[in-house]
Amino acid sequence: MNLFRYAAPQTFYPLAGRLQPWFAAAAIALALAGLWVGFGIAPADFQQGEVYRIIFIHVPSAWMAMFIYLVMAGYAVFTLVFRTRLSGMMCRALAPTGALMAAISLWTGAIWGRPTWGTYWVWDARLTSTLILLFLYLGYLALIAAIEDTERADRAGALLLLVGVVNVPIIYFSVRWWNTLHQGASVSLSAAPRMASTMLAGMLLMSLAAWMYSIAAALHRVRSIILERERHTRWVRQLAG
């Protein structure tokens, strides 16, 4: 089978349509299982009590926010080097989900921080670099929204993603250094006590749910983008009847 067959929007559209419900169903099932384990079975933390349970949403969304940016950068390479159209559409389809994940992880982190640290926001290295990651997503979205010509938008966005992905580790380490210079590590997420296995199981289930949700959302979005871009082609007209 030729894998590149599905690099064409025309063949990818029906494939995405067939796969999308499965990913969506898996996301719902895994999320239900993860929430049941996280809120029903996992014990309360002996230091933080019930508050810690927000990590079942917080950690998967933070992982997802970082991972989606890497995936987009991977697609960006295809856009710039091979000029494939679908990769640009995938970047565009993934970006809102990535921004959403970054926003969720900041939001849940703030809610968790208030009772635990006594404040909604500290300029901790991880918080700050997630905030900057959100800004990078917003910058990408703003750039592709501002360019009307779709090919230029895809290629310009891809270049921005690559510049961004080179910078993300530099930003992370610079912020970490900046923070340690200014104030001692007053709060450190990495120093959390070791987790009970049910907590870990809940978090893994929720992470898988986040993966499935992101794939389902991206496939759903890319189908709309394909239809919009290819609306003048014969196959879309036939599809519309």
Binding site: L143, A146, I147, L181
Partner: protein, 224 residues
Amino acid sequence: MTELGTFAWALRRDLRLAMRRRADALNVLGFFVLACSMFPLAIGPQREWLQRIGPGVIWVAALLATMLALPRLFEHDHADGTLDAMIASGRPLSLIVAGKLVAAWLVTALPLIVLTPLLALAFAMPAEAVPTMLGALLLGTPVLLGLGAIAGALTLGLKAGPTLVTLLCLPLYVPVLVFGAGAVEAQAAGLSPYAHLALLGAGMLAVALAAPPVAAQALRISVE
């Protein structure tokens, strides 16, 4: 024309154009000084506060001033068709971009650095901090311009251009800000500023090598 000739041509051309439009560079400089002067007025003239925020304020103002200068880097050449001619000429576009960047640095960043000792006085910075501040600015401003050139090239000719450049650039400027202001902070805390300066220098070398070809590629994407 040799490679060096292409570079020199672009450099000379942009310097000459800048000399004919001196007001542009002066505006950026005026913005820099005024933006810095707003802070003592806003937070009060207490000496220890000013000393504390001085390096940070000067860095943020330098960063914003650089961004004001960015739209001019390619927009005029794009509007009058020179950019198309440059691309069609077959000369290495990255060298033309490099020439333009050096010219932009000489016209906008260098005057700003020259004025910095005066602002350091205004913020009551200790005399031994001034050379560190200048060194950090000398190493950091090329990074600001290089990254900015990529953003400027990507947003070429867009209506939302100037605001969009701000949105694209500022997250990428974070490391420069951290290391630049950090050098002065470290010295004030009795540590050596050289680690920060060395990192800034490494950033400058990386940007000097990577920014011209990437910005050239961005220009091609925008013009094609």
